[in-house]
């Protein structure tokens, strides 16, 4: 898994690529929590660009929950541009009811 982070017009965009599974979830979670802290400090929403992500297992999903807990409601975390596999995983896990899921990084809520 690779991780990129950029400031983009009043929001922070995190872009993981590859897979988030039992091998990579710790790195994903650490990067994600750091990004949450950056977003909170800057008072901007955090958008997670999922377009480069092949899929995410339950450990990656639960890392999203840890990030949401880290944010404590101070900033919104949006999931953007999931591929068909990720969209199905978000639906099966009902994480699409816990996080806003949008079609592209540029979409609003």
């Amino acid at each position: 898994m690779e991780w990129r982070l950029r400031n983009d017009e009043g929001r922070l965009v995190a872009a993981p690529t590859g897979r988030v599974d039992e091998e990579s979830w710790k790195e994903f979670s650490a990067n994600l929590n750091a990004a949450v802290r950056d977003a909170v400090a800057a008072s901007v929403p955090l958008v997670i660009d999922l377009s480069g992500l092949e899929y995410m297992t339950s450990k990656g999903l639960r890392a999203l929950t840890l990030a949401k807990n880290e944010a404590r409601g101070a900033v919104q975390i949006r999931l953007a541009a999931p591929n068909a596999t990720m969209r199905r995983i978000l639906s099966i896990s009902r994480y699409d009811m816990l996080f806003p899921v949008v079609d592209s990084v540029d979409s609003g809520d």
């Binding site: 297992t57 339950s58 995983i89 896990s93």
Partner: protein, 321 residues
């Protein structure tokens, strides 16, 4: 080894209401429209082949009770004493009449009501020739079973039971032998704690892991579960909620999800997963949907591993290992 599911529902026994049965019949009639069946056997064959399980059958509503049957010469091995235990008891009496030893080894995940409520209705407990050994990780298992048969709760006191009843308390990390099986325990996250069991015998391994929460903050600890599930022929796992529910509305209730169960089994190299401890508020359609979603999830995250076979436990299911 044959694994029989006598009770698969979590928390509370449930039963189908009349309108649910009517919906099934109506759905079946519409699908069968225009067909002719020579007899009941032909109609049953059609039902099994052309209808979904939630239409022609039901996942049942008895609370947890699972039998591991190693053969007619072996002692009975039973995980938990939920309301499914009553029907197991009826079956056991019949099998003992055909010569099976009247020896029962129970393994309790924990002492919550849904996991012990069947014992007052367990007919072999009234058999003076029966020996019942109750294995538990909780030292107060005897107190829990005696208390539910006190006069305020039940008309027959524990002291009136005629079988020879013994209690054995075990510690995680200290494997033991019972009924010809090697048995080990793992401590699980649940209110007051629960225990999973790993049974090995005859070249087969079964893991019974119910009422176990796998919290986001404890993901490092899951390596222990992956080892405990390692190479199992069958893992019977708590899949009561979706993961989204388990980490939000249902957090701290002590239960797991279908997707975490799949991931643990994948990491453990287990061969088969039985979805278990179904939410009592779920209809048959709800459980079937969860089953199909689990099959799809397993496929999406398989990543070159051998396929994990997923079955959805129902009252009456038998799995041959």
């Amino acid at each position: 080894m044959l694994v029989r599911f006598w009770g698969t529902r979590g928390s509370l026994p449930v039963a189908q209401r009349a309108d649910a049965a009517l919906t099934k019949v109506v759905r079946a009639l519409l699908i069968a429209r225009g067909r002719h069946f020579a007899d009941e056997a032909e109609a049953a064959e059609f039902a099994r082949s052309d209808l979904e399980f939630a239409t022609y059958g039901t996942f049942g509503g008895a609370t947890p009770c699972v039998e591991l049957d190693a053969g007619d010469e072996s002692a009975f091995v039973v995980c938990d004493m939920g309301s499914g235990l009553r029907e197991f008891g009826v079956s056991a009496v019949r099998r003992c009449a055909e010569g099976r030893p009247r020896v029962y080894h129970f393994f309790l995940s924990h002492l919550h009501w849904d996991h012990i409520m069947g014992f007052p209705y367990f007919r072999p407990a009234q058999d003076s020739g029966a020996t019942i050994v109750i294995h538990s990780g909780h030292p107060d298992a005897e107190e829990a079973l005696r208390r539910q048969q006190e006069a305020i709760s039940f008309p027959v006191p524990f002291e009136a039971l005629k079988a020879k009843i013994e209690f054995a308390v075990h510690e995680p990390g200290e494997p033991f032998e019972a009924a010809g099986l090697q048995v080990s325990l793992i401590r699980q996250t649940h209110a007051r704690g629960s225990f999973g069991y790993r049974f090995e015998g005859g070249g087969k391994t079964v893991v019974y892991s119910t009422d176990a929460e796998h919290k986001p903050a404890d993901m490092d600890a899951e390596a222990d579960f992956e080892a405990f599930f390692g190479g199992a022929d069958l893992v019977i796992s708590d899949t009561m909620y979706s993961l989204g529910e388990a980490v939000s509305l249902k957090q701290d209730l002590g239960h797991s999800s279908n997707v975490v169960a799949v991931d643990l089994c994948h990491a453990a190299g287990a061969r088969r997963l039985a979805l278990f401890h179904h939410e009592p508020g779920y209809s048959d359609d709800d459980i079937q949907r969860m089953f199909y979603e689990t099959l799809r999830y397993e496929e999406l995250v398989r990543a070159g591993r051998p396929q994990l076979e997923v079955v959805c436990a129902y009252d009456g299911l038998e799995v041959e290992l």
